[in-house]
């Protein structure tokens, strides 16, 4: 096991290109400590999602890592075979995406889908996967888990679907959760519920979170540290207090000006 002083995730000089285009992610380096929440903030096209997908080795066709290293608990993920990566994904590292609907299998009942993750990554001795799934659905505060488990994704609301995604993500006690815009597709009043749930689950499982978002408010609300990405590079990083209260980079300053406080109650 890791000692607290060693980073859980260590990305060093990561550069990603698509075809012959200039790099989409360029010389990106950062660390995530165990249990920590780190935000990556930037506008669309800044390379934040590609950075996350590189860690999971899920780059879309045409994309490849040309240099840099990705160490997870000192294991070189960038050198792993596809077979070994499959053990990591959904096991040690799991992911929650923006749109829960496109991430769930539309023709499979909810309970089966959540149980599938447990079946793949957890020891049978820990219990029947389906029972584990029901326990997880209860843990994410879904009303009447037995009933939800028998339903199909289209029968749930957006907020309920995202709760299911979170149940799936945490069922194997991941050490790192990568959350890509987890609350963006939801209604604003549901958004906060989901952020609270993620924090609750994170604390229960001691999981570190890499949160990717364009919403600075979400970063300020949930993260310990933040990396600001612009045109494929990290332009500023530090604790949320340092970066969001006293931004030094002109780009960060511009971003913050664009979201001047709408509320002053």
């Amino acid at each position: 096991m890791n000692t607290a002083s060693n980073p859980l995730l260590q990305v060093e000089g990561l550069t990603v290109v698509f075809g012959q285009q200039p790099p989409v992610v360029c010389e990106v380096s950062f660390e995530v400590m165990p249990g920590e929440t780190v935000g990556i903030v930037g506008e669309s096209g800044s390379g934040k999602t590609v950075t996350a997908l590189s860690i999971m080795r899920l780059l879309p066709p045409g994309g490849r890592i040309v240099s840099g290293s990705i160490l997870f608990d000192r294991m070189p993920l960038h050198q792993f075979s596809e077979v070994r990566m499959r053990q990591v994904r959904g096991g040690d590292i799991s992911m929650v995406f923006q749109d829960p609907f496109t991430c769930l299998n539309p023709v499979m009942r909810i309970g089966e889908q959540v149980a599938e993750a447990a079946r793949l990554h957890r020891d049978r001795a820990e219990g029947n996967p389906y029972d584990l799934a029901l326990r997880m659905l209860r843990a994410v505060h879904l009303p009447d888990p037995e009933c939800i488990a028998r339903r199909y994704p289209h029968e749930l609301s957006g907020g309920q679907r995202q709760r299911v995604m979170i149940a799936m993500a945490f069922i194997c006690h991941p050490r790192l959760l990568i959350a890509d815009e987890p609350s963006t597709a939801l209604d604003v009043t549901v958004q906060l519920q989901i952020l609270h749930l993620m924090r609750e689950m994170q604390q229960q499982h001691g999981t570190a979170v890499l949160l990717i978002t364009h919403d600075i408010g979400v970063v300020a609300y949930t993260c310990d540290r933040v990396l600001v990405m612009h045109e494929g590079r990290i332009v500023e990083s530090g604790s949320v207090y340092e970066v969001l209260e006293r931004p030094r980079h002109p780009y960060t300053q511009r971003l913050l000006e664009a979201v001047a406080q709408p509320c002053n109650r």
Binding site: S157, G159, V188, T189, L192, H196, P262, R265
Partner: protein, 324 residues
């Protein structure tokens, strides 16, 4: 003064199979005066876009009336609408989907001028150039195609096309939701400037409260097909009276950690479906302050003070925002 727009008890229902009905808009009154910018906010599915489209008669009303400058829009036959169409225009959320990819910008802008007989040929082309400059783009862009522009520039082109006929009403349906943060403020500023210069009324439909504050002077909050609160912008932000409005304001997270507020009472669960609308107050299933009366009796919009209306049996009073 006669209002420019008056909507009375407007309902828009969409039938589904098995006799079920989506109550998208369920009895809304809305007035817009000449040159006024009004915001219409609410979460997805609350009926705000449907209401905006019903206002322009882009979709038929199930019940109710829409008066435009004293004319009964709901009664005018389709064929006779065109002269009125000139006076009311719309800008949509996705600028790429609303620009024909095969037409040069010039043609896109000349079309409304020719359709409404405002200009033709060389003169129309020259006016199109002026329109582009008016929205902050150089007139040389007339010869380009939509794909050559960024999202923000495309939205400027859509705005130029909408103001080509010098409308008295502009409906902006989530015009900046698809744009990057740093571009949004520029488009909001452009809309505000045009509203003042052309003295046109704007109905600004959005879920972005920040945007409303930049553009509008009055705002209506919708929930499940009904208006639950209506107030001057500053009043709504400083003294919201409906628990739902409060929840919406609380959901806006501050960008500075030192100003982060603990949201007080989060509404529970999700927005119910508009097919089976809850009884009584539509918000009672999620409202942290709901009492028995809310489950049975539907509250109507009541004026609390000048220009501030709220549909709630137990409105929150200013300064005394309840904490549970």
């Amino acid at each position: 003064m006669q209002p420019l727009i008056e909507m009375r008890e407007v309902r828009v229902h969409f039938p589904l199979q098995r006799g079920e009905v989506v109550h998208a808009v369920d009895g809304v009154n809305l007035t817009l005066t000449q040159g006024e910018a009004v915001g219409l906010v609410g979460e997805s599915g609350c009926g705000k876009s449907t209401l905006a489209r019903a206002l322009l008669r882009l979709i038929p009303l199930t019940a109710g009336e829409v008066w435009f400058d004293g004319k009964p829009l709901h009664q005018i036959p389709e064929g006779q609408l065109r002269p009125l169409r000139k006076q009311m225009q719309i800008v949509f959320q996705d600028p790429m989907a609303s620009l024909n990819p095969r037409l040069r910008i010039g043609h896109i802008l000349v079309e409304p001028l020719e359709v409404h007989g405002l200009a033709r040929g060389k003169q129309a082309w020259q006016q199109a150039g002026e329109l582009l400059e008016r929205v902050g783009l150089p007139s040389e862009y007339l010869h380009r195609y939509p794909h050559e522009f960024s999202g923000g520039q495309r939205q400027r082109i859509c705005i130029a096309r909408a103001i080509a006929t010098q409308p008295r009403l502009l409906v902006a349906d989530e015009p900046t939701s698809a744009l990057d943060l740093s571009i949004r403020a520029q488009i909001h500023a452009l809309l505000s400037a045009l509203q003042r210069e052309l003295h046109m009324a704007i109905l600004f439909v959005t879920h972005d409260l920040h945007a409303v504050r930049q553009v509008c002077s009055r705002v209506l909050v919708m929930y499940l097909g009904k208006v639950v609160e209506s107030a001057p912008v500053e009043r709504l932000f400083t003294a919201p009276a409906h628990p739902y409005t409060c929840a919406l304001l609380d959901a806006v997270l501050e960008p500075k950690p030192s100003q982060a507020r603990r949201p007080r009472n989060l509404p529970a669960g999700d927005v119910p479906t508009a097919v089976r609308v809850p009884t009584g107050c539509r918000f009672h299933t999620r409202c942290p302050y709901a009492q028995q009366r809310c489950e049975v009796e539907e509250p109507s919009l009541q004026t609390t003070e000048a220009g501030h209306e709220v549909a709630c049996h137990y409105p929150l009073s200013s300064g005394n925002t309840k904490t549970a």
